[in-house]
């Protein structure tokens, strides 16, 4: 008899902390086994809820104590199960998967982050990294947009982001409310509000596909080249190991070759209807 040690067997993680971010988004902090590989910014894990299924979720933070955070929007069968999860509960975790953001390419460069909605989650570890090793990177510009003020992620951290030396944070919402005094409009409207030195800038973009399409267009117009813009794609990554087929964009397996692609690499397929 032979044991079938497939790549689908999860490790058991314990939820140590949960934070309610918005009415439909929650961050869970997981304690993973000591030998679980340390994730890099931009990677994702497959989170498994017993009896419900598995979902690929970006890593949204790695704390000093080694807890791995995932920020989850309740939209599908499995993610809705996270509503009830609390401290001490167990879930399964596999990963980390994917390539992550190209941190080595960011060295000494200005970093322009453009995020939409829950797309800020995979970029938050990049902000954390720049904060921790401030002298390794150039200017930090964060442009963030959400539907309404109530949908903004990590609001409690904005004052911290603004304190990062040589940084700028601009936030916009599609629709304001009575308390909102900031920008109103889509996130691409913030692009003209920052100074960009095209030859010295790398842009990291994550958000709904339509938002990324317009962002790429505007960044190209500002003089960035195709290999200076990186996008993190969302697909149905069922296995995470380039095997189950679901996440393919053309010939590219988003789970192993991505989820982060330079626009140069993905442009042939990005924007093709229903690719």
């Amino acid at each position: 008899m032979v044991k079938l040690l497939s790549k689908f067997i999860p490790r058991v993680a314990i939820i140590r902390k949960t934070i309610t971010e918005t009415h439909n988004i929650k961050t869970v902090y997981l304690e993973v086994p000591y030998d679980f590989e340390k994730p890099k910014p931009g990677q994702f894990n497959e989170l498994y809820i017993r009896g419900a299924g598995e979902v690929p979720i970006s890593i949204s933070d790695i704390t000093e104590e080694g807890l791995i955070a995932h920020t989850i929007r309740f939209v599908g069968t499995v993610t809705k199960m996270f509503i009830e999860l609390k401290e001490g509960d167990k879930i399964g975790v596999r990963g980390p998967y994917g390539n992550g953001w190209p941190l080595s390419k960011l060295r000494d460069k200005d970093v322009l982050i453009v995020a939409g909605g829950v797309g800020l989650a995979p970029l938050r570890p990049v902000i954390r990294e720049i904060e921790r090793n401030r002298n390794l990177y150039g200017r930090l510009m964060i442009l963030y947009g959400a539907r309404t003020p109530k949908d903004l992620l990590y609001r409690h951290e904005y004052s911290r982001y603004e304190k990062i030396p040589n940084s700028k944070l601009l936030v916009t919402v599609d629709r304001g409310d009575e308390s909102w005094t900031g920008y109103v409009g889509v996130v691409t409207k913030l692009i003209p509000k920052v100074e960009i030195e095209p030859e010295n800038t790398i842009a990291l973009v994550c958000g709904p596909e339509i938002m990324m399409r317009f962002t790429v267009k505007d960044l190209m117009a500002r003089g960035l080249r195709e290999n200076q813009v990186y996008l993190s794609l969302e697909r149905r990554m069922r296995c995470g190991v380039g095997f189950c087929g679901h996440c393919q964009v053309g010939p590219l397996f988003v789970c192993t070759e991505g989820p982060v692609f330079s626009y140069e690499k993905i442009k042939k397929y990005f924007g093709v209807e229903q690719i």
Binding site: K3, S6, P10, R238, C239, H246, Q248, E273, Q274
Partner: protein, 368 residues
């Protein structure tokens, strides 16, 4: 196509030798999988006796049509080796209420495919690069001791196009034994040590020149018969120029999105993993075949990347004939024609390709 010379052994024998070969494989402890009639269809099933292999039966295969009649030679049915190497349902593990994870143990079985066709051998080679390389432990377990006896196709069917895909109708390498029925004799060749040893036990005679000529003639005829009206030269590059072609919409006007083509395809490897709760509180995680034609395939919570059938068809076709080369360095199609025969509305991938190439010739833009 180029037919590799079968230099190792090229002898001939008769039906009795085939029976003896079957029995000697069985005596070595192999579970033999071969063709067998089940519900008027030739399936691949575990065989106890040589006599279970159909004789005097022929299959008629056309787009959307399959029928058994009396005749001389039958081809492959809907089953392919995938059914055994990469089963439709496989238990990955069980999780109990207290999160104890139980990993199943499986028996290390010796499996022999007896009488699969060259297209299916090519499909195994393709699977070796997907399931084998990517580390599917079940696949590797079965594959490492797998014995492959190929029946070369002297009468390819109407939906076959292995000559075009260069995978048949005569197997070139990678088998243990290949045999070819030519008129009243059977030509045997081996391509492995165990294959040679098995053939040595038989009472085979070397091919004389008369039989060699008949054999060569039969091969030539079969090669001509299994050709489609397109060539694979430059095909992946040409097809990639069709990303925005309306031809896909036209082709899929009658597509039902049933995913039959995915299921019968010997190389389609996509799968899903589902949770099956038991009454005792444990949950089983089960790997099941999935296909790019199924509605939920490219769906994510809150969105759908390929809601329309034409886009799913485009992905399927381009994956087989274009993307696969970028991913694994070969075509994902072996030309078995199963997707044509088993399509309930008879969509013929050969015609689809011709239609798309016509569009590309007229409208396709050459990009860098």
């Amino acid at each position: 196509m180029e037919v590799k010379q079968l230099t190792l052994i090229e002898y001939y024998g008769a039906e009795d030798d085939l029976r003896e070969l079957f029995n000697s494989i069985k005596d070595r402890g192999y579970n033999i999988i071969g063709p067998k009639i089940v519900d008027n269809v030739i399936r691949l099933e575990e065989l106890k006796e040589f006599s279970e292999i159909p004789r005097g039966i022929e299959d008629i295969q056309k787009p959307g049509m399959y029928k058994l009649v009396r005749g001389e030679f039958f081809r492959h049915g809907p089953d392919s080796p995938k059914k055994f190497l990469f089963p439709p349902r496989l238990l990955l593990f069980r999780v109990s209420k207290d999160w104890t994870i139980e990993i199943p143990e499986v028996e290390e079985k010796l499996i022999a495919f007896f009488g699969i066709k060259p297209c299916d051998l090519a499909a195994i080679k393709a699977m070796d690069e997907v399931q084998g390389e990517l580390g599917d432990p079940y696949y590797r377990l079965i594959r490492k001791n797998l014995l492959i006896i190929v029946e070369n196709c002297i009468e390819p069917g109407e939906t076959c196009f292995c000559s075009t895909m260069e995978t048949g109708p005569i197997a070139g390498s990678g088998f243990d034994i290949a045999y070819t029925r030519v008129e009243d004799f059977i030509v045997f060749s081996a391509d492995s040590e165990i294959g040679v040893n098995l053939l040595k036990e038989l009472n085979l005679r070397p091919l004389d020149s008369e039989k060699s000529t008949k054999y060569a003639k039969a091969i030539k005829r079969a090669i001509d018969k299994a050709k489609a009206n397109f060539s694979i030269e430059g095909l992946p590059e040409k097809l990639e120029l069709s990303l925005n072609s309306p031809a896909y919409k036209e082709i899929t006007e009658k597509c039902l999105g049933c995913a039959n083509c995915n299921m019968v395809c010997p190389t389609c490897f996509c799968f899903d993993v589902v949770d099956v709760p038991n009454l005792n509180g444990t949950v089983e995680r089960i790997r099941v075949w999935d296909g790019c034609f199924s509605y939920s395939y490219a769906m994510v919570a809150g969105g759908h990347f390929r809601p329309d059938l034409w886009a799913r068809y485009r992905h399927w076709l381009l994956h087989k004939f274009s993307y696969w080369l970028k991913q694994f360095g070969r075509f994902g199609c072996v030309g078995c024609g199963r997707c044509i025969t088993w399509c309930p509305v008879g969509i013929d991938v050969r015609e689809s390709i011709i239609k798309i190439l016509n569009w590309v010739r007229t409208y396709g833009e050459v990009t860098e």
